[in-house]
Amino acid sequence: MQLLEVHVNLLRIVIAPYLPTPHPMSSTGCISKVSQTWTPWLGITVMIVKAGPHKGYKAVVKNVLPGQTTSSNPRLEIQFQHLNSSSPFKIITVDYDDVVEST
């Protein structure tokens, strides 16, 4: 494991990436690693289809919030990709059912 020792003033808080529960250890005792393929929605471009001010805009999935009380259950944190000088690259939270994968 690599531990980086860095002065705090070189750092910036970022949104924690969504990491699902990793698989248990293999029978060989090797340390399994969290694979990027286990976060299938991250980085996917979606289009908002729910009626409202954001309908039709494209965004990229930045985080998945499982176990929500909404009917669609998971919610998604998505980041707009279009230019908006007042709130550039704004991140909003939407229901899973509010978006479809964009081609």
């Binding site: 531990l3 980086l4 020792e5 002065h7 003033n9 070189l10 750092l11 808080i13 924690a16 690693k33």
Partner: protein, 132 residues
């Protein structure tokens, strides 16, 4: 000035240097709304504005706003924070803060291929510390 020179000046403890407003290390990055602690007074606050040599800091507990030299600021992080390194030799790397000792943060690097390894409580692990 480069942080290497900054820390050499700081370690000299020369009275003229200690009383002067020296520039911050060029690698340090500050942004508004960041939580900081003032190194000299140990007071905590939030950056409200950044100028060339100083930052306006809103002190915690309603103690008002003061101007503080940038080189006297340290950002506040706690274990579990997800961070990215914004400058220096490790620019672009991301990870999780596991501990903070004074002005040094120890980060588990998750920007390498495979991300953070899954570790069972009974595992024996070897840790390599990379200092920059």
């Amino acid at each position: 000035m480069p942080s290497r020179l900054f820390f050499l000046f700081e370690q000299s403890k020369h009275p003229l240097i200690l009383t002067s407003t020296i520039p911050r290390p060029q690698e340090w990055v500050f942004e508004e709304d960041e939580q900081i602690v003032i190194c000299s007074s140990k007071k905590e606050g939030t950056i409200t504005a950044i100028e060339m040599m100083h930052a306006e800091v809103q002190l915690a507990n309603g103690e008002g706003t003061i101007s503080v030299p940038l080189h006297d600021l340290c950002k506040v992080f706690v274990a579990g924070d997800s961070v990215s390194i914004r400058s220096g030799a490790l620019n672009g790397r991301t990870g999780l803060v596991v501990s903070v000792n004074d002005d040094i943060a120890y980060i588990v690097d998750n920007s390498l291929e495979g991300g953070i390894p899954y570790i069972h409580s009974g595992d024996s692990i070897q840790v390599f510390i990379i200092r920059y």
